[in-house]
Symmetry: none
Subunit: 209 residues, 4 copies
DNA sequence: CATGAATGAGGCTTCATTCAT
DNA sequence: AATGAATGAAGCCTCATTCAT
């Protein structure tokens, strides 16, 4: 059954894996055709032969990572029936993505896309499905509720993505993960209370002394 | 008193300005001693003479930017007496920092610090005062209130910084700023309602059908 | 009769055409197995399979072009009965060869042959028939006349070839062809007067003041 | 008096000399920053540091060669008082330029300029002074004479340049220079008779049988 | 304090060429 | 006959860095 896949596929595979690893550990500035190829154990010209350049290869690595995670996360998220549960699942996802370095792929490419219009365009394209995914999930969980009027799923999706990107950078400043965990814990405490936000606001006292 | 500053100060100045500009527009990967020096209109050897290397110069640029903003923001924030006002001021700050590219200095360096322990250490050191600043401000505004028990100022500071970093990357994915503005608007709607989070939570129905 | 030609013939054809085109538009330095194959729409390994290398393929392209033109020019030239008419036909030929890029094939290969003895040898071999052709034509037109004593057909053939090669390079310096046309016009005015060269030269005055 | 010239000047010198030599012996296709630098015995990065690229260096080499020759030829040509003497001087010049490889610099660059608009522009610019030079010389020697009406100096200048370019390529096809010498000899025989071309042409018989 | 020269390494990319299929 | 994969060399160019002036 397994058999031999078409030739070159393994090389492409190794390059994609090596690209992801290099981007994760060396950052965009430290990621070159040579460093990737060395990690993959292949000739660096193959980066151009198979992918046309370093950036396309990095995008391919991002794509592979995204596909795998999207599949897994769709499943994981399907079990969450309310915002509290969703926050828990999301926290697990964040943690896994940080640990696995998946977010780094994304943030490094976003950071690099400043000066590369081509790259930027591709990154933007690849961010869309994630925004959709988060929005749809939120819509399923809180759609129609009073909370959704205050916190529209689409806007919340923006917030989740923003936070997702930010938390990855934040972990770089947080060697022992203590602070990141504090963040997650905070979110876990707030989520079950979110619906309180929809209550009527008591009249506001003018400029409290 | 002022008189002529010490010799070389103007060159240092120009290099620092050029470094900030280059980092903002070209990203870390596109920032070299040469590109900075070209922008500054000076010889690239001066990057090493005055700063000892590219990274130290970039840190100097970050420092200058940080000092200026810290001063300005301390003042701006002092006027905010409650969370709602603070959210407004913060939104203005975020907007200004995005527009002025100040955050980009930070996020690019954080992104680059992955593979550079020396750089990372310096960045971590420079993030501390900002966390302190945000925490103290929050403590002044909500300290002692019930809200502060649910949302401790230090944790909220982490969240603010995380969001601060994330929103910059997010703007790269948001060419027309529509989504970023939606985010800010969401924050503006939620902030005045934050205290509702402290109310007693109605008993939760078991597994909603 | 016609039927299917031997297999691979079409590929060879396309490669030869593509080689000619590439050499014409990109010059020798810009002509590689890859660029040719891309133009031909075939795999670049076929350059080696069918021709053994780039240079042999280029020679094949030169050969095809030469054959076609030699045939056409033999016919065209047959109609010229005197030097004047021959000059006219030759002008048409030069013009056509410049326009069609045929000369460029030749000059680029001659220029490249400096450093490639193998190529040079082949080019020299391929120049011979043209020199013969020009010489024979001139011999037919002016052979036996007094003019042929002053201007031996073989020497004139050298001059024609020299001019032929030079005019192609000259057109590169002459974007609007104005100067090239001036050259042709000059030739047209001189040719009918060539026989005057055979008249007795009046005694020369010593060192004109 | 001689003293030390400014630093770097010697390196530039060596690079220019090496570029000329490499272009002469290896042709444009075989001329790279590396091959030039190796010949010069310097680091190949200096090609870019000093000249910005290979083509600019080659143009610098052409410029140096042109200057030297222009100076020498102005002097040599000044002694020629009539067309016959001029033809002799020109022949010497052609011979010297072929021997010294000076023309090759030019023809190789012209040949390469097909696919390089920037290079082409520069080459065209550098051809102008030579055309001017030849035209002025011819104007001095035959200007005002009847011959100049038939053979305008400017058109003759075009012809001379064309021939100049062509004869260089022709020598590549003429290993032992026999043919090239035959060409020069032909020119030497015709030049003194050129004025005969201005005589009245005997009436032409209609279609000679 | 500032410059320009210099180097060797390494960036991306294309090259000719071979080989298995 | 034709393809795609693969390699190592070499192409151009920029890098950080040092040094003499």
């Amino acid at each position: 059954m397994a058999g031999k896949q078409q030739p070159g596929a393994e090389t492409r595979d190794r390059l994609i894996d090596a690209a992801a690893e290099t981007l994760r550990t060396e950052g965009y500035a430290g990621t070159s055709a040579r460093t990737i190829a060395k990690t993959a154990g292949v000739n660096s010209a193959l980066v151009f032969y198979h992918f046309g350049g370093v950036d396309p290869l990095l995008l391919a690595a991002l794509d592979r990572s995204s596909e795998q995670r999207m599949t897994a996360y769709r499943e994981a998220v399907a079990k969450a029936g309310n915002l509290e549960e969703l926050a828990e699942v999301a926290t697990d996802i964040y943690r896994a993505d940080i640990e696995g370095g998946h977010i780094t792929l994304f943030t490094e490419l976003v950071g690099a896309s400043i000066a590369r219009p081509d790259l930027r365009e591709e990154i933007v394209k690849r961010a869309e499905p994630w925004i959709e995914f988060v929005e749809q999930t939120l819509d399923r969980v809180i759609g129609g509720s009073p909370l959704a009027k205050l916190l529209p799923p689409r806007d919340l999706a923006y917030a989740a993505i923003t936070f997702y990107l930010g938390v990855n950078l934040f972990t770089h400043l947080d060697a022992d993960r203590t602070r990141t965990e504090a963040l997650f814990s905070l979110a876990g405490r707030v989520a079950p209370r979110a619906k309180l936000l929809t209550l009527r606001l008591p009249r506001r006292r003018e400029t409290p002394s």
